[in-house]
């Protein structure tokens, strides 16, 4: 039994990280119908903010605070300079944000170099319970992810902002007639989505290798999670993330990472094709 617990914890931690990354994507996609292909790069920049913060001697916590601020500000910039002009052309947002992702990736290569960086674990210890032991930082990371995911759900289901946001998703024109500034809602949703990506990057940085190409490895599973779960209700991303992350990790352990990736992508493609509204239902493909 005890040999299964680390596996379950590893899988859960992967799922939580995936959901955290996908959540930002989901807010932007569900809310504005914008496919942000640069989301993986924003996640990557969050990790690099942590690298930079550590290299000037700032503590880990400072990096955690700085990353969402820096990346959120970048998001504001991107929204103002790019996304705002192509809201009404959803397919073009895919291409424009793809161009953005290339540019951001190259900017990071030019600033930090193409090699990979590592961030030391802020907490070295591990939790020991009898024969069972697990790195403490991973446990804290999981707890933080749960809190962040819960917090985002709370924001979108229990606050005034969330109510307005959901009104804008459901009936943009009616919401605008009722005096909600939809453009402003879009802008802040985009900033929240990007700040979440930056925060996720900073938190995950110590347990992965940080390099300019890391974004894509999270972007595609993130999108598949959203589409598999359903882009309507926020809960869809939990279901999708669990399916994609869970199957991927378990198969990687039991068979091989290659077989896992191929199987998961094909399962995801099948689900998206046969149930385009996602497992949880919601917005139909435009």
């Amino acid at each position: 039994m005890s040999e299964f617990i680390p596996i379950i914890l590893d899988v859960s931690s992967y799922i939580l990280i995936l959901v955290l990354v996908a959540l930002g994507l989901m807010i932007v996609f569900g809310m504005m119908g914008v496919i942000n292909m640069a989301h993986g790069e924003l996640f990557m920049i969050g990790a690099y903010v942590m690298v930079a913060a550590q290299s000037v001697g700032l503590p880990f916590l400072a990096g955690v605070i700085l990353a969402p601020i820096v990346v959120g500000f970048l998001g504001l910039l991107i929204e103002t300079a790019l996304i705002r002009h192509i809201y009404l052309r959803p397919l073009d947002t895919i291409l424009a944000t793809w161009g953005l992702s290339i540019a951001l990736k190259q900017l990071v290569v030019l600033t930090f170099g193409p090699e990979s960086h590592s961030v030391p674990l802020p907490i070295d210890g591990s939790l020991e319970l009898g024969t069972f032991s697990y790195p403490l930082y991973r446990l804290i990371l999981m707890a933080t992810s749960v809190l962040l995911i819960g917090g985002t759900f709370w924001l979108f289901t229990r606050t005034n902002f969330g109510l307005m946001a959901r009104a804008v998703i459901a009936r943009p024109d009616t919401a605008a007639t009722l005096g909600i500034d939809t453009r402003r809602m879009y802008r802040w949703s985009f900033v929240i989505g990007t700040a979440l990506a930056g925060l996720a990057g900073a938190l995950v940085a110590p347990i992965i290798s940080v390099d300019p190409q890391m974004g894509l490895g999270y972007l595609v599973p993130g999108f598949l999670s959203i589409l598999v779960g359903g882009a309507g209700p926020l809960a869809g991303v939990l279901v999708g993330g669990t399916v994609i992350g869970g199957v991927n990790n378990l198969l990687a352990i039991w068979i091989s990472p290659v077989a896992a990736m191929i199987t998961v992508y094909i399962i995801a493609i099948l689900i998206i094709r046969l149930k385009p509204e996602g497992l949880m239902g919601g917005r139909r493909a435009k």
Partner: protein
Amino acid sequence: MRSNLLALLVFAALAAAPILIGGYWTGQLTTYLVYGLLAMSLSLVWGYGGILCFGQAMFFGIGGYIMAVLTKGMILPELTSSYLGLIAAMAGSALFALALGYFLFAGRGISGAYLAIITLAMALVLERLMNNWYALGGYNGLLNVPPIKLTFFGASFELWDRMPTFYAVLAVVALVYLLVSWLLNSTYGLKLTANRTHPDRLASLGYNVLIIRLSVFALSAAIAGLAGAIFVTLDGFASPTLIGFTLSTEALIWVAIGGKEMLLAAFLGAILTRTAESWLSEIFGDYWILILGIAFMISVVLLPKGLLATPLEKLTQGKGRKSR
């Protein structure tokens, strides 16, 4: 009429180019012509067919691998004819596209962003698969793919030297351009436009939208497959990068910068971007990719018809008459 004149000028300029640019660049230009063919296939399916395919290199790679496997004699040692390889490459890519297209478009098919994500995921799957398919070379790919061997009336000729290879490839590209332009100007082109803009009305007029979509998807795949098949004979090897994600997105950038709704502009987009890349990357170094990314963004946001197509259309359009 004017657009035909423009195409004639472009191909004449390309035919004259080797005199000016010398041997090395002629070799490079041959490769760019093949990329141009891939760009045309993407322009056909995306600009005219309305299907945003994020994995167009899938078909390029499939064509390339079929050509390599056949002409290396890995299946039947006696059957290594280049003609057979080219035909099989086109047919194989088209069949794969038909199967994938039927899966994606039949019934309440998917479109738009969902299609983009699925084709992107498919390209990643195929790339990973080829990286680990050891019978087909795995990560290292297939080496020593023989050059194309032309045989007519008993005489045979290997496309090995730069000049004959360049003109043979140019002839193929020009022929494909002619055929596709002719097709797009026929009633089929009209159906494609209707399918792109008002598929419901097209269906209510009694046309089978699925067949139109499948046919354009398969035709585009066949052209991409042909490009891939030619490509592996030029370099002499087929590798997983041909089938994958990077080439797919590069093709997307060429076509978006050139102009997806204009075959010639998409073709020129590929050639000019690649040429600019090999010249400017020496000057700008690592900044080149940054510039390319920004140019791509600008062309999508400000000139959705393409950086090249916008001026070219002005040039080819007579007074107030739309060319399409």
